[in-house]
């Protein structure tokens, strides 16, 4: 493609605004949009595309978290608790070679995503808070939370369960994302929503909060190796930050069901992308 560097910077910035907007609403980094756009549309080297994608995850996370924390959509205690597992998983994934082949991993990951999408699509009921959490770890760490839902005009209170299973899935999520170079939010949000019974908006906002730290754990290596090219990274960082800031003001105003459906749609797209890479 023949394009001037000026047009490249402007067009990439506009696409990144959309990536940041969607990424912040569903609790995933912008990577699911950034990597295919860079490689398929602009024919950028995959190593540079992955470096830029890691940065877009950090930009989504920090840009969105500012507002989510103030609106108490982010459950800070849950996020920090689960970060222990995701960062450890990310390090394991980055330095450990697996016994399973990459292709099998991609297909396995695609199947998990399709399963999560189906489960989330079929579950129409809201998360019903039990009167008291039976999970002793959740009680000891005071993981329960509440936020004011602007779309439903009421205070949503919730208890957290399944902390141990949740912690285990987070470790796997961190490892898989480092191994396959995909964002870990695709597994984090379903784990918080389905296993730990955290409402979808709080799950998305808490995932947004966590993905920045998980990505930062691997970003230094990409930065030091020179995989974060300034001319690709600058428009992406600026665009994603703008999009995520706008998205974070939107999440609380739309209904939880809308976020669920948007997430299901994104899961289907990502799982097809993974299937295609696994079968290639």
């Amino acid at each position: 493609m023949h394009m001037s560097v000026y047009d490249f910077v402007l067009s990439l910035c506009l696409i990144s605004i959309a990536a940041g907007l969607i990424g912040s609403l569903v609790g995933l980094g912008g990577g699911i949009i950034i990597v295919p756009v860079l490689t398929l549309v602009y024919h950028i080297d995959i190593r540079l595309a992955i470096g830029a994608s890691i940065l877009s995850v950090i930009a989504t996370s920090s840009g969105a978290a500012v507002a989510y924390i103030r609106e108490r959509l982010t459950n800070l205690r849950v996020g920090m608790f689960l970060e222990v597992a995701t960062t450890l998983g990310a390090i394991t994934g980055a330095y450990v070679t697996t016994l399973i082949s990459g292709n099998v991993l991609f297909i396995l990951f695609a199947m998990i995503l399709i399963f999560s999408a189906l489960t989330m699509f079929r579950r129409r009921t809201q998360n019903i808070a039990p009167p008291r959490s039976s999970d002793s770890l959740a009680n000891r760490l005071q993981l329960q939370g509440s936020y004011y839902d602007q779309s439903q005009r009421k205070e949503i209170k919730y208890k957290v369960i399944g902390t141990k299973l949740g912690l285990f899935v987070m470790y796997i999520a961190g490892m898989v994302s480092a191994l396959l170079g995909v964002g870990s939010g695709t597994l984090k949000v379903p784990a918080m929503d389905m296993i730990m019974r955290i409402p979808i908006k709080a799950s998305a906002a808490t995932s947004d909060f966590m993905i920045g730290v998980t990505a930062a754990a691997s970003a230094t290596a990409y930065f030091a190796r020179g995989q974060i090219n300034p001319i690709i990274a600058a428009p992406i960082a600026l665009g994603v930050l703008m999009g995520a800031t706008a998205g974070s003001r939107l999440l609380n105003r739309v209904t939880p069901r809308y976020i669920q459906m948007l997430f299901v749609l994104v899961l289907v797209v990502v799982s097809l992308e993974m299937l295609q890479r696994g079968l290639a």
Binding site: V5, F8, I58, V213, T220, A233, A237
Partner: protein, 129 residues
């Protein structure tokens, strides 16, 4: 300070740390981009000249520091990106200090272990190529 106030305080400070990181890195990246186009990089150059593995740019602390004197923008952009990458780490460090001051032992231990894992990953990332 009661518990509710302590939580509000924690939320406000953590959110501010992230906001400052975002504003500072945005400003530096934007300045770098403007300076890139103002200094010897014509807008009409094909983008593949820059957006390819063949284009070299400063990406170590010393190279970025040296490039800032004779800057064509790339070093400044990398500096802003470095700050953006460090922002979540600063957020974890700030949470650790806040929980420690509130004498919340389990949360202090949790945030400290995340911080240690992050520092280890930084050392691993900077040393292994």
């Amino acid at each position: 300070m009661n518990k509710r106030q302590a939580t509000n305080n924690t939320e406000r400070i953590i959110s501010s740390v992230l906001q400052i990181g975002v504003i500072v890195s945005t400003a530096i990246i934007l300045l770098g981009l403007i300076s890139f186009f103002a200094h010897g990089n014509p807008r009409s150059t094909p983008y593949h000249h820059y957006a390819s593995p063949a284009y070299s740019f400063p990406h170590s602390i010393s190279a970025i520091r040296n490039s800032l004197h004779s800057d064509q923008g790339a070093g400044l952009i990398e500096l802003g990106i470095g700050i953006l990458i460090l922002t979540p780490v600063l957020r974890v460090a700030a949470s650790f200090i806040l929980f420690l001051r509130q004498q919340d032992r389990p949360m202090s231990a949790i945030t400290l272990s995340v911080l240690i894992v992050l520092i280890c990953s930084f050392i691993l990332g900077l040393t292994t190529h």
